[in-house]
C-alpha cells in the first residue's frame, strides 16, 4: 500500500457531470451567438469582440467560483485536475489552433454549436477537426518526440510565479475587467 491520500475515482458520476457541463457550455455558447463564424471573425477585424468578452467572463466566473468555493469548504481544490504543461507542443498547437480558427471562423466548441444549430460550415469544421485528429494519430510516431518535449507538469500561475493564489486571483480579475473595458471601447460597427 502506498500513498494513503489517493483514493478511487467515481467515473460514472464524473461522466454524468461532464455531460451536464458540456451541455451547459454549448447552450451558453449558442446564447452568446458564438455559433456564427461572422461573429468569431469579427474578433480579428475589431468589429465584434464578443468572443474575447465571453472568454474573459468565463475565466473570471470559473476562477472566482473555484477560489471562493474552496475557501468555503464546498469544493476541494486538491481534487480538481490541473492539465499538464508541455511548452513546445502546446506552443505549436496554439499556432495551429489559431491559424485554423482564423481560416474556419470557428473553434472546436463553437463548431459543435454551429453544427448542432444546423450550419453547414460548423459541420465542415467538425469533419476537418476529426480528420486532423485521425491524421495526427496515424502520424504519431514521428511526432512523439515533440509531443513529449518540455514537460512542466501541472503548472499553475501561482506555482510558476511563486505568489499566493489570492494575488493571482486579484491580478486576473483586474486584467479581465480592464480587457473588458478596452474591448467595449475598440468595438466599432462592421
Amino acid at each position: 500500500m502506498t500513498a494513503p491520500w489517493i483514493d478511487g475515482d467515481t467515473s460514472a458520476a464524473g461522466l454524468a457531470i461532464a455531460v451536464g457541463c458540456g451541455a451547459a457550455f454549448g447552450a451558453a455558447l449558442e446564447r452568446a451567438g458564438l455559433g456564427s463564424a461572422r461573429k468569431l471573425v469579427g474578433q480579428f477585424y475589431g468589429t465584434d469582440l464578443t468572443v474575447l468578452k465571453v472568454m474573459l467572463s468565463a475565466i473570471v466566473v470559473a476562477m472566482l467560483g473555484a477560489f471562493w468555493l474552496g475557501q468555503l469548504g464546498v469544493l476541494d481544490l486538491a481534487r480538481v485536475a490541473v492539465p499538464e504543461t508541455w511548452l513546445a507542443p502546446q506552443l505549436v498547437g496554439g499556432v495551429v489552433f489559431g491559424a485554423g480558427m482564423a481560416i474556419a471562423g470557428l473553434c472546436p466548441g463553437t463548431s459543435c454549436v454551429a453544427a448542432a444549430s444546423g450550419r453547414g460550415d460548423g459541420l465542415a469544421v467538425m469533419l476537418g477537426m476529426f480528420s486532423g485528429v485521425l491524421v495526427t494519430g496515424l502520424a504519431f510516431a514521428p511526432l512523439r518526440a515533440l509531443y513529449e518535449a518540455t514537460a512542466r507538469g501541472p503548472l499553475t500561475l501561482s506555482a510558476w510565479l511563486g505568489v499566493p493564489y489570492g494575488a493571482v486571483v486579484l491580478a486576473v480579475v483586474a486584467i479581465a475587467l480592464a480587457g473588458f473595458g478596452i474591448a467595449e471601447r475598440i468595438e466599432r460597427p462592421a
Binding site: M1, T2, A3, P4, W5, I6, D9, V60, V61, L64, A66, F67, W68, G70, Q71, G73, D76, L77, A78, R79, V80, A81, V82, E84, R144, E148, A151, R152, G153, P154, T156, S158, A159, G162, P164, Y165, G166, A167, V169, L170, V172, V173, A174, A176, L177, F180, E184, E187
Partner: protein, 207 residues
Amino acid sequence: MTPRPWRRWLAGAAALAGALAPFAGSPYRRAGAEHATASATATATTTIDVAELVRVVADQEDHVSAVELAGWIRARLPGLRVIDVRSASEFAAYHIPGAEHVPLERLTATRFGADETVVLYSELGVHGAQAWVFLRALGHRRVVFLRNGLHEWLDDVMSPTLPPDAPVEAEAAFARVAELSRWFGGSPRRLTGGPAAAPAAPRRRGC
C-alpha cells in the same frame, strides 16, 4: 451596444471578490497551513520527525511501484508531479513521460503545492529515496519515491514479461500490466519455455 446597469453590478461584484482574495489565504482545504510552512522553511535548517518517518517507511507509504505510477499517469491523477532527480544528460536521454527534471541540488528550492502528489525517481532508487527524505524534512507530506528507480519503470512497465510456467492468477495480472505497457509504448512479452526463456535484458535507453 446599450449599456446595461446589471453589467456594472456584475463587474463590481467580480472586482470585490477579486480584491478580497489576497486576504483570504490559500483556497486549499486542510493543506493551506502545511503549504505555507513548507515554503517558508525551504531554505532553513529543519528538524526531522524521525519517529514519523519510521512509521511511514514501516507502513510502506514512502514509495510507489512503477506499475502503480504508470496507472496514476494514465489516469491523470490530479496534482501529480513526477520528478526526475538525475543529471540533465540522463534526463535528455530518457525519462518517464511527463516527468520534470529537477536535480537534487535544485530540489529544495523548488516549490511544491500542498495539493500536489510528488513522485521522485532516480536511476536505481537511492537518490530518489534521499530526495524523499529532503522533501519530508521540509514539510511536504504527499511525496513518494519510485521504489527501484527508472530501472523498475523500464523492467515492469516498458518491458514486462510473463514466464512460461506462470500461475493462472499471474496471467490476469500480466494482461493488465501489458495493456498499461502498450499505452506507454512498451513491449510486453510472454516468454516461451526452453533455454532461451530467460528474460532478455531490458532496453536501457541512455541509462
